[in-house]
Amino acid sequence: MRLYVDSKKCSGCNACRVACSLSVFGENNPKKASLVIEPHFPAPGEYIVRVCTQCGECAAVCPTEAIKQDAQGAYYVDFAECNLCEACVPVCPEGVMFVRTELANTAWKCTSCGDCVAVCGTSALWLAEVETETA
């Protein structure tokens, strides 16, 4: 399973990011969320949302193998094994792999838990199976 987004439906409210920080860290702090909302105002007046596609690029470069896959196929960070090397950050194609040492002593990312979907009033977010490319 992975997260999908229709940015056109996003109103920038950030409820998803609060729910995310609660899910990933058990903390009320959207700065520690695993998805990004970029507002573009005053022009052209839109929100661009970036979410994890569960592509696994982060896991592929992690030297300590701290980024693991759960039974549903979602990659997650095993906090105990992260050494904060930041190798995962630049390889993320969506810019949603996070290391901010002033906020957390570990890297973090989306686990496809779906809590963000549950609070999104405009249905901009949803979970579905990862689409695999066909030849």
Partner: protein, 608 residues
């Protein structure tokens, strides 16, 4: 402290000193937050008789315990000060993302006090806070400066900023945020400007502690679930507050040509669905809102982007000035936002000036050559600018409709649509006695949001003057402002019909203190009485006369529209007040009696 930032940031602009004080637990217990904190500090720290634009006045901005939390609509903060517009209490609620950021920066209030010797902005990045030179921003538009500061510091910073009107102390200058959200009413922007503060820039990265994490997540999720499953979610979110334009037009409540009528013959092009189709490009939500009423528009005719317009602006800068072009209303909205004036007061005072002009009380000589007839779009744009810059006729109007009409005289006071010096917001009340009473007794002047009782008028019979209507207004006044105390929006309850009991376990899980709505309404009643006593303290002659409605509603029936020929009797105005004072426990002059104060735990020294 669970549910709180834990600190009060005191910014002394005279000395440049900034201190962080721990938020007293008893303050959180008794006043909860938001406008509760506002009135506490206003009564305690701003001396009696303070000049609203002088160094003694303070500007207090406060989130509440639901702000920035997993609480549907927890995006509201309160701005309190002594009001330049009215000389009484000002409390302006602002949505957007500023309040959450304050919380994450560990703040429960910022108190701006004194006056800076030069233009500054307050910069807050978590525990770091300082005053920075604002010379390069002074004189610039609020929207323009917000964009510059966002570009400079990044999207994580939230910004509240005044426009030129705030710098020039226009009495209804507002504070702008998030490209179109405002602390709109009473002149809070003029107070910020009088202190030489252009903006507050804030970022916070701290987690907010809660009392019971599991219960909190459960209660928060339950509230969001209820909102998402609400029957009206889709329609409400499509149109936001513009959904009521057609309803008001049909009910005779849409302010039309300076409130001379409640239906506008050209209103169809102001209706919500028309606007959505014509100009809206995205929904724009306040923090944590599952049902965003905010709309954001591309205004092709004027090559501009503008927040809204929302209902109030459509009413006041549309039908109230005789304009039916939604693009013109949206552009007028943007002008007001950028120049820094409240669209409600602006549309009201321009409507009054237009009526003066059409009646020959103001001439082209007075207007600087403007042909100020109802419906003149270019003249409206120009006058907005003149007000913000206090130029020509704009200087007169910048003091608000009450003072302007007193100065001009010639009977114009009778069609100055204001209470306590505040211009009435977007509901015509010729024949809607609950709503009329709500305006008469509102704690900041003629504003609708404390008790939006007009649907109750329609429900029980609009001309009726019965104790039940008065009780309804009082209940709404005690209950609805509690959302401003808690730092959340009331529209999930109002518009989606969300069961208010869902907030109870949420608040308890956050703060660790169990409170019922009955408990919360008692806090609301106490605050209502404290704000009343603030008016009494600041105005030696305060009393019944201050609660009288605009004369138009009991002297001149509309000649067209749904309420044609309808009017409230003057004797009914007085009956409404008699019943209201009795039910409130106030004397016949509208002052809280000692027994009422004692019942609410208000000691004389608190309001002396």
């Amino acid at each position: 402290m669970n549910g709180y930032g834990g600190n009060i940031l005191r910014v002394n602009l005279t000395t440049g000193g900034i201190t962080r004080e721990a938020t007293p637990p008893e303050l959180a217990r008794d006043y909860l937050g938001g406008r509760g904190f506002g009135i506490y500090f206003l009564l305690k720290e701003v001396p009696r008789g303070a000049d609203p634009l002088g160094p003694e006045n303070k500007l207090i901005v406060s989130p509440g315990p639901l702000s920035g939390m997993l609480a549907a609509g927890g995006g509201k903060c309160d701005w309190t000060c002594k009001a330049p517009l009215t000389g009484g209490y000002a409390s302006a609620s602002m949505g957007g993302h500023f309040t959450a950021e304050l919380k994450y920066a560990g703040l429960d209030s910022i108190i701006l006090e004194g006056v800076s010797s030069k233009p500054v902005y307050v910069f807050i990045d978590d525990k770091k806070s300082e005053l920075r030179d604002a010379a390069e921003y002074w004189g610039q538009g609020a929207v323009d400066v917000e964009k510059e500061l966002k570009d400079k510091f990044g999207e994580e910073f939230q910004i509240a900023v005044i426009g030129p009107a705030g710098e020039k102390a226009v009495s209804f200058a507002h504070i702008n945020h998030d490209f179109g959200r405002q602390a709109g009413r009473g002149g809070v922007g003029a107070v910020m400007g009088s202190k030489n503060v252009k903006a507050i820039v804030v970022r916070g990265t701290r987690s907010v502690p809660v009392a019971d994490l599991d219960a909190y997540r459960k209660a928060g999720m339950a509230l969001y679930k209820a909102c998402k499953e609400a029957e009206g979610l889709k329609e409400w979110t499509s149109y936001g507050t513009t959904i009521v334009v057609s309803w008001c037009d049909e009910a005779g409540a849409l302010p039309t040509r300076n409130f001379s009528a409640g239906s506008f013959e050209d209103a169809k092009t102001l209706y919500g669905p028309y606007m959505r189709e014509k100009i809206v490009v995205t929904d724009k939500g306040c923090f944590g809102c599952p049902c965003p009423c905010g709309k954001y528009s591309k205004v092709k005719k004027y090559n501009a982007y503008a927040e809204g317009p929302e209902y109030e602006t459509i009413g006041l800068l549309g039908s109230n000035v005789g304009i039916s072009d939604i693009e013109a209303v949206a552009y007028a909205n943007l002008l007001c936002d950028n120049l820094g004036i409240d669209t409600i007061s602006a549309g009201n005072v321009i409507g009054w000036a237009m009526e003066c002009y059409e009646k020959g009380i103001l001439t082209k000589q007075d207007t600087g050559g403007l042909d100020l007839k109802f419906g003149n779009i270019d003249a409206t744009f120009k006058l907005i600018e003149m007000i913000a810059k206090k130029e020509g006729l704009g200087a007169l109007l910048a003091d608000g409709v009450k003072k302007a009409s007193q100065k001009i005289g010639k009977g114009s006071e009778k069609f100055a649509i204001q209470v306590k010096g505040m211009e009435q917001s977007g509901y015509a009340t010729h024949n809607a006695t609950s709503m009329l009473l709500a305006y008469m007794t509102c704690d900041v002047g003629a504003h609708h949001n404390r008790a939006w009782a007009i649907t109750y008028d329609i429900q029980v019979g609009r001309e009726k003057v019965v104790p039940e209507k008065v009780a309804r207004v009082i209940w709404l006044q005690n209950f609805r402002p509690m959302f401003d105390v808690l730092g959340a929006c009331r529209l999930q309850w109002v518009e989606l019909g969300i069961d208010r009991e869902l907030y109870i376990p949420l608040l308890e899980s956050i703060t660790g203190i169990k409170r019922s709505w009955e408990d919360l309404e008692k806090v609301g009643e106490r605050i209502w009485n404290l704000t009343r006593l603030y008016w009494v303290r600041e105005n030696a002659d305060f009393g019944r006369a201050w609660d009288m409605p605009p004369a138009r509603f009991y002297t001149e029936a509309p000649t067209s529209g749904t309420t044609k020929g309808q009017i409230t009797k003057f004797e009914d105005v007085n009956r409404l007040l008699d019943m209201y004072y009795e039910q409130r426990g106030w004397d016949s002059n509208g002052l809280p009696i000692p027994e009422t104060m004692e019942k609410l735990g208000i000691k004389q020294e608190m309001v002396a």
